[in-house]
Amino acid sequence: MNRKKGDKGFEIANLNRIKLNSKQCRIYRVRVNDLEAAFIYNDPTLEVCHHESKQRNLNYFSNAYAAAVSAVDPDAGNGELCIKVPSELWKHVDELKVLKVHINFSLDQPKGGLHFVVPNVEGSMAERGAHVFSCGYQNSTRFWFPCVDSYSELCTWKLEYTVDAAMVAVSNGDLVETIYTHDMRKKTFHYMLTIPTAASNISLAIGPFEILVDPYMHEVTHFCLPQLLPLLKHTTSYLHEVFEFYEEILTCRYPYSCFKTVFIDEAYVEVAAYASMSIFSTNLLHSAMIIDETPLTRRCLAQSLAQQFFGCFISRMSWSDEWELDQIVAYELKTGGVLLHPIFGGGKEKDNPASHLHFSIKHPHTLSWEYYTMFQCKAHLVMRLIENRISMEFMLQVFNKLLSLASTASSQKFQSHMWSQMLVSTSGFLKSISNVSGKDIQPLIKQWVDQSGVVKFYGSFAFNRKRNVLELEIKQDYTSPGTQKYVGPLKVTVQELDGSFNHTLQIEENSLKHDIPCHSKSRRNKKKKIPLMNGEEVDMDLSAMDADSPLLWIRIDPDMSVLRKVEFEQSDFMWQYQLRYERDVVAQEESILALEKFPTPASRLALTDILEQEQCFYRVRMLACFCLAKIANSMVSTWTGPPAMKSLFTRMFCCKTCPNIVKTNNFMSFQSYFLQKTMPVAMALLRDVHNLCPKEVLTFILDLIKYNDNRKNKFSDNYYRAEMIDALANSVTPAVSVNNEVRTLDNLNPDVRLILEEITRFLNMEKLLPSYRHTITVSCLRAIRVLQKNGHVPSDPALFKSYAEYGHFVDIRIAALEAVVDYTKVDRSYEELQWLLTMIQNDPVPYVRHKILNMLTRNPPFTKNMDSPLCNEALVDQLWKLMNSGTSHDWRLRCGAVDLYFTLFGLSRPSCLPLPELGLVLNLKEKKAVLNPTIIPEAVFSNSQEEEEVDMDTVHDSQAFIYHHLNMLERPSTPGTMSVHHAKGWCVI
């Protein structure tokens, strides 16, 4: 039995209705100041389009959905639950007295908002490791108790949870005390959260958790599921450093008096931050032997902690201010050095697709997940731009100012109007920036926040020897979708023989050409070190460069102060110099990408040099591997010597005495570990003149697998072995098939036979000695799908379907489902598509359902302009039903369904449907189906603005209405075995 309490004062004059958010809850009675109050419950998002049978137009749906979400938007003062304040109390309201609202409600087997994990084994709930936690996308607290589900409505909280004595309830704020119930079989956890917090930042996790008090900071407590304590110890062992770092850099104390991290299974997202607690996926836990997971997990932990400052403590004013919090969090991550080196490749600066969106961007709940991730990405970039503009010092001062204002406000216990300082809005943020730094960043905001799109530059140059001038031509493309025009300063860095020089060009409407004077005369014979941008002086072999020109390389916008994509033309030797001698990681990556177009021995040499250079950033070296493979393939006819990278690998990682045997694993140096992992994968992409993987390479990889010996290694080699299987998969080329014969064992290619042998052995060994996160199984499944696709093995989804079942580790399931999705596309299988759709509706894990939709959208069985036997009316109806009413318990899932519908059928009425009935008029000119104007007056939404007129006195009717809706949720009647299954509560507002 859970009880939740909140105290809140309303100070609105002429208040006769109180609107709250609530979903799924069964509300029994509502009292206002102990007087019975009438209420009505109406959730328009349960079924977006009512009473219509054949309308299948996505435009129509999106509008209806956006309207439905606004109709209950708490920021607009709306809500699903409308309570009529008894007339006796109207006087109270006029006198600005406090109203207390009591709501009796229960929550019975919720489909969203709270997720129950109950393993199907013997024993009590605690022994089985059963647990429950709150989850959801954006503000989703309304799924488990009635509240004002907005980030901008702050109040203090008193929370009580009564759970089985073997369980621990973790929630927001300080645990004041834990008391047994009278029968001593249950205990009640009393929480107090004195810092004003929005309902959306309230969370809960209950389970038989193992408790670990952080050895460095006793007010930090970590929780994990039974048996995982050793992993928890290791995983959280460095968290105190993050704390120290943030507190130091923000010169501000951590706002809450405690911090709790809970690691749970079947997580909705990897990290979810709530006030003073964060809920993580248990799959982030790792032991000291795991290399690859460590930085990812640390990033998640650091992110959750950053969100404690911005997001939980300081909450956003409205959805449109969300960008800031995201940015700040991301920004802190970057400065935190936790993220090793953020890479801003040109491709990453793709922007929000501006036009032709198939969803409304006014509400977080109508956003496509894809859009949301891109949104976060851009937010991070914009914040970086602001930092570039006003300097990091000022930026930190701004943060500090926001935090100190907020913490002053939060200590004002009884002046809730002061709490608005704890919210941040775009304008407020800008104001404090201009106050602190004295700089006006309005143009920047206008360009990058108000507008969407990315700037596209095309650059080329010529060197005028007579004038000793560099003639630079920069063109812009602002007509293609997703681009915008840029006018303003642009920095160009020219590396000359005498040093590196920065020039600022003014990009204007019509000026394309820019003359840049060169500082150094071309010289040849004077042997002198060449100074670089960072002050370093190096010796270079200048024989490759043009004798007449002093230019080594040119970079446009090296600091990335514009969200842009640059395509710059310079000669191959310049790219090679840039790769070798430019110390900027981004520049190195740019040059690697550019060198793909220059398959020459010189490029090969430059890339090999980079591969060998220990000081070079490991990701650059990994990228160089793949580029080298591409170059080798382009120059296959002239390539001399052993396959690319083979001798290098042998030199670096094989025994001196017997070069065909790899050394026993020693992953102490992470840089070389990553290189050792990547090189074979890239090598497997090599192709000979017949477009086959050279036999030598395959033998080499098979030998690596054979001689792999991890006995003396401090670290696990599971990721390494998984990559070796990826390498095997990469080496597979399409089978030569004669007359479409059926694939049997007898006509199996002998190389493929060897590969299959390895995969079989690995996959079987995984059953006996599973690897961390089953990375090897995942790679094996992918490799089998590659073999199927290339026609070596008969295409068959049965294997993948068995691995996709509930009960396998989530990574395996996703990999298997990906293969099934791919099969559905390649083989156009209606049966598998149905199987996937059933899983989307019925799978117990929300993340998996979301992921299937996501994968189907990325790799769709057909698209809107394609004729496919799969595209039929039944499928349209099925998907329509899914997004219309089947996914009302999960915003993310519904948006995913909308995305899929859009990918499959487009915005307008699907072409496979028969001609619409009389209700629709087909406008042939615009190729659009529109609702017949004669039926529009029949209100599209039951919950529109006229709702005020709803008769509030018919309490019984309204309850019938709720029951009707509750029944529509189609809950399966599984017996509630955990005490918290039946949540019943009083909500005092």
């Binding site: 900071m217 025994c655 961390y772």
Partner: protein, 304 residues
């Protein structure tokens, strides 16, 4: 008599699955014992006996005789002889609580029945022991009554003709192929004994995949390191500690860290105290609300 029992006992336990003459021998021996029992019973005045009781008595007699034989053999071996003598048997009988004095009188009793001697049957054929090379004859200083030398293979040292493998390449090769063979054999065995999946519809044996089996708690196997890995981790850790004993820097560093952490804690604790007002402020004790004991309910109870 004891002697025969002993050999019979030894033979009985040694070669059961041998062919029919062996069995015949034991059947005859058993029948003879039954005759003895029956005659003793007749002597004692019984006119008839149930088969079951005769069998039981036979069994008892047989055990008794076997025990005499076994015990006598032990005594004789104890005194470093190979053949039991009369005294061994006497000692045995005494040991078993039998009054030896009464034996002659009993043997000479008047009403005893005489059983005809059994027909001579061929004793069990002891299978020929494997002989490797010639047995060595006694050297001159060893008296001939001493037992013969055992087979040469039991004491002769076989010289090693191969040097132990020390070549790195060969070793690695061996280790790799050995591991691969073990893994292959093991997985094939698992695949044969359990459910399998196959990549080819027409063939299930060439690439047998052990069928995927869902777990009830999948994250445990996925996240926890295997026992083997744990062991490895401990080993490498201990190796490292050995390496690090020389350097004093590390422990010093840790100490510094701890002291600074404690300071931090102290300040935080103070802050906590000011916030909640219920803090005792003991620095050495970890005060975490989740570690506090659960309170008993108040008698009157809290009403919500």
């Amino acid at each position: 008599m004891a002697n025969t029992a002993a050999t019979a006992g030894a033979g009985g336990s040694g070669s059961k699955q041998d062919s029919t003459p062996e069995d015949n021998y034991y059947l005859a021996w058993r029948r003879r014992l039954q005759v003895v029992v029956s005659s003793l019973l007749t002597e004692a005045g019984f006119e008839s006996a149930q088969k079951a009781s005769v069998e039981t008595l036979t069994e008892m007699l047989q055990s008794y005789l076997l025990e005499i034989g076994r015990s006598a053999k032990s005594y004789c071996e104890h005194t470093a002889r190979t053949q039991p003598t009369l005294s061994d048997i006497v000692v045995t009988l005494v040991e078993m609580g039998f009054n030896v004095e009464t034996l002659p009188a009993y043997a000479m009793r008047s009403q005893r029945m005489v059983i005809t001697a059994p027909p001579v049957t061929s004793g069990p054929v002891t299978p020929k022991a494997l002989t490797a090379r010639q047995k060595k004859s006694h050297p001159p200083h060893v008296p001939s009554h001493f037992p013969e030398f055992p087979d040469p293979h039991t004491y002769i040292k076989t010289p090693m003709y191969h040097e132990p493998l020390s070549d790195y390449q060969v070793l690695r090769e061996k280790a790799a192929s050995q591991r691969r063979d073990v893994e292959r054999a093991l997985t094939r065995f698992m695949a044969k004994t359990g459910k399998t999946q196959s990549l080819f519809k027409d063939d299930v044996s060439t690439f047998p995949l052990i069928a995927a089996r869902p777990f009830t708690i999948p994250y445990l196997t996925a996240l926890l390191p295997s026992e083997l890995e744990m062991q490895q981790m401990e080993e490498t850790d201990s190796l490292e500690q050995d390496e690090q004993t020389d350097t004093e820097i590390l422990p010093l560093h840790i100490n510094m860290d701890e002291s600074s952490a404690e300071k931090e804690n102290a300040s935080v604790l103070q802050q906590n105290a000011s916030l909640s007002g219920s803090q005792t402020g003991e620095e050495n004790l970890i005060d975490n609300p989740y570690l506090r004991p659960v309170k008993k309910p108040k008698i009157c109870g809290e009403v919500n």
